[in-house]
Amino acid sequence: MADAVVVLEGVRKSYNVGTPVETEVLHGIDLALGRSEFCALMGPSGSGKSTLLNIIGLLDRPTSGQLTIDGHVASGLRDRDLTRLRGHTIGFVFQYHHLLPAFTALENVMMPMLVESGRPDAGMRARADELLASVGLTQWRENLATNMSGGQQQRVAVARALAMQPAVLLADEPTGNLDTASAQAVFDLMKRVNAEQGTTILIVTHNRALADQCGRIVEIVDGRITSDRRLEEKARLDAHQEARRGEG
């Protein structure tokens, strides 16, 4: 793929390397995600989805194979450079939102920028305000993260993941813990980000109804990609309407 943001070539991941219980969980994954692509990653529990997501998110290192993120070859980078690359190019949304409980919604959104520049400033605050407005949570900005509903927390988490304008947004079952309406709202938010900002999104989900609204579905079983298909616009719209009807 010419304009690929994420490229994995022959990525393998083993645990307990060099011991009798060495286990390979990813067996040579080849995958490329283009700019603005919205891709769902599906598969049964233990198939290696989260491991793959952590490797793409530069939180984990592959045992072998090459990983390129936004033009940077990540394999062999030192920890410090990996951290910097992660901060600039990757945004995470986790299943359990993982907001920092000691900080307000606004401060949580500011946090990636604060970590990057070292000191808070007015620009950061403005950007965080803007992001909170875009997820419809302006009035909750001064609330502590713990004083919000699950759906609201997850929307804050999405706003936070977008703070650094990352090239790639990785979401590990972001709606897994939410009711159907909140799940659809969070999902719609990510679709809008994808459409408006051109952010590449990779979302791990068990929810077939949500996956069908993505442009591409990659399925992984036992550490191997078993299916990789792109959906037509019409099919996605149908799936979206179906989901809406289901909510109603």
Binding site: D79, R80, H98, L100, L114
Partner: protein, 408 residues
């Protein structure tokens, strides 16, 4: 979120505020420890000053005396038999050779505060039928009072030392039945001696000393003891009492005169003070160590509790260094706040001590100082120990694997 503070400060202060109970408990722990250290340091300093003041206010820090006389048997050549036993000679009352020069040399030393010549010896005090063996100290009042503040010890009369005046110890006055204004005859071994007027009665703090001690003018004593123009000893006060032995050795090397410091003449007292100082320092060290371990324990728990947050921060791009600094700062801040609290506790204890524990005469048992240096030092030390204690937990925090932390 304060725009002036860097990320590490913001995160550290929020984490501390979030774990309020934990923070309050460890701050209280550090505070009590620092309070104990401050109080013990003040008590030690006060006690040592008190003891040394009491002991040293009635004696010189260094006393110069003429070298001891030794017998030198004549060598009689090859034929003569040599004595196997050499008897030690009797030590006469002798003058220090060239004592004016010695005084000038000693007074010029920067470590020396005051120098005073003295002609001292044993005589008999006679009043009617009563006779007492006393020690007469002939001194130059102006110089001697800078070493032993005799006027402060007067219980009757004044500490005036004219040619015909004598100041006597309180118990001696009782034994002889003299009062201020009475006459007292002194007799040297030869039998002759002047009759002096008692101008003052002094209490030198010890019965034995009060029974024997008398003071008169230098030239009166010189005449009485047959030391015309000479002095039997030179009293010296030094700036740093604990350097007295060192100064004494330097004086001895400089002048060739024998120099005895209070440290040598009161070696038991000095050893007792030193033992107390060592015991006190040991206790303070272990209290400090307990504080450091307390901080470390709290931070280790905090790192475990916060590992998920650390994982999220790492996933957002926070470096290991940033996480390390957050927890180091937590340790330092805990140490600092704890020491401020401890300073207040220590100060309160010192003030209470002064108010509650008093001598029968209403003066404090012994005075304790609120020395600002002590507070600054304890704040700096507590902050540093917080920093050191935080190092291992902080390292552990920095090594948190974000994958494991987030999954867990």
């Amino acid at each position: 979120m304060n725009g002036l503070l860097p990320f590490e400060w913001i995160a550290a202060s929020r984490f501390l505020r979030e774990g309020r109970m934990q923070t309050a408990a460890i701050v209280a722990g550090i505070g009590i420890g620092v309070g104990v250290i401050i109080f013990m340091s003040a008590a030690l300093a006060g006690q040592m000053r008190n003891i040394t003041q009491r002991v040293l206010s009635s004696q010189a820090h260094i006393v110069l005396v003429p070298p001891q006389e030794v017998a030198r048997p004549l060598r009689g050549g090859e034929e003569a038999a040599e004595a196997a036993l050499v008897q030690k000679p009797f030590q006469r009352v002798r003058s220090i050779d060239q004592w004016q020069t010695v005084i000038k040399q000693v007074a010029a030393m920067p470590a020396v505060v005051a120098v005073s010549p003295m002609a001292a010896g044993a005589v008999l005090a006679v009043r009617g039928e009563a006779t007492r063996s006393v020690s007469i100290q002939g001194v130059d009042a102006e110089q001697y009072f800078r070493i032993v503040p005799l006027p402060e010890k007067v219980v009757a009369g004044t500490a005036r030392l004219g040619a015909d005046d004598i100041v006597v110890g309180a118990d001696l006055a009782t034994d002889l039945g003299v009062r201020v204004g009475d006459k007292l005859r002194l007799a040297a071994a030869s039998g002759a001696g002047p009759t002096l007027t008692v101008t003052g009665i002094v209490d030198l703090g010890s019965k034995v000393v009060n029974q024997r001690m008398t003071f008169c003018a230098l030239h009166t004593a010189q005449a009485l003891l047959g030391l015309i123009g000479g002095v039997s000893s030179i009293d010296i006060t030094v700036r740093d009492i604990y350097a007295a032995e060192d100064v004494a050795q330097r004086i001895s090397a400089l002048t060739g005169v024998e120099a005895d410091s209070w440290i040598r003449t009161n070696s038991q007292l000095y050893l007792a003070i030193n033992a107390q100082r060592i015991a006190n320092t040991t206790i303070r060290f272990f209290v400090g160590l307990a504080i450091a371990f307390g901080i470390a324990a709290v931070l280790i728990v905090s790192v475990v509790q916060k590992s998920k947050e650390i994982g999220i921060l790492r996933a957002m791009g926070a470096s290991r260094g940033q996480i390390l600094r957050v927890f180091l700062l937590e340790g330092a801040v805990l140490g600092l706040i704890g020491s401020l609290f401890g300073s207040a506790l220590g100060a309160a204890a010192i003030i209470l001590w002064g108010v509650l524990l008093k001598n029968p005469d209403g003066t404090p048992l012994f005075p304790l100082d609120l020395d600002p240096k002590l507070f600054v030092a304890s704040a700096v030390l507590a902050t540093l120990s917080g920093l050191v204690a935080a190092y291992l937990p902080a390292l552990r925090g920095a090594r948190v694997d974000p994958v494991v932390a987030i999954r867990g």
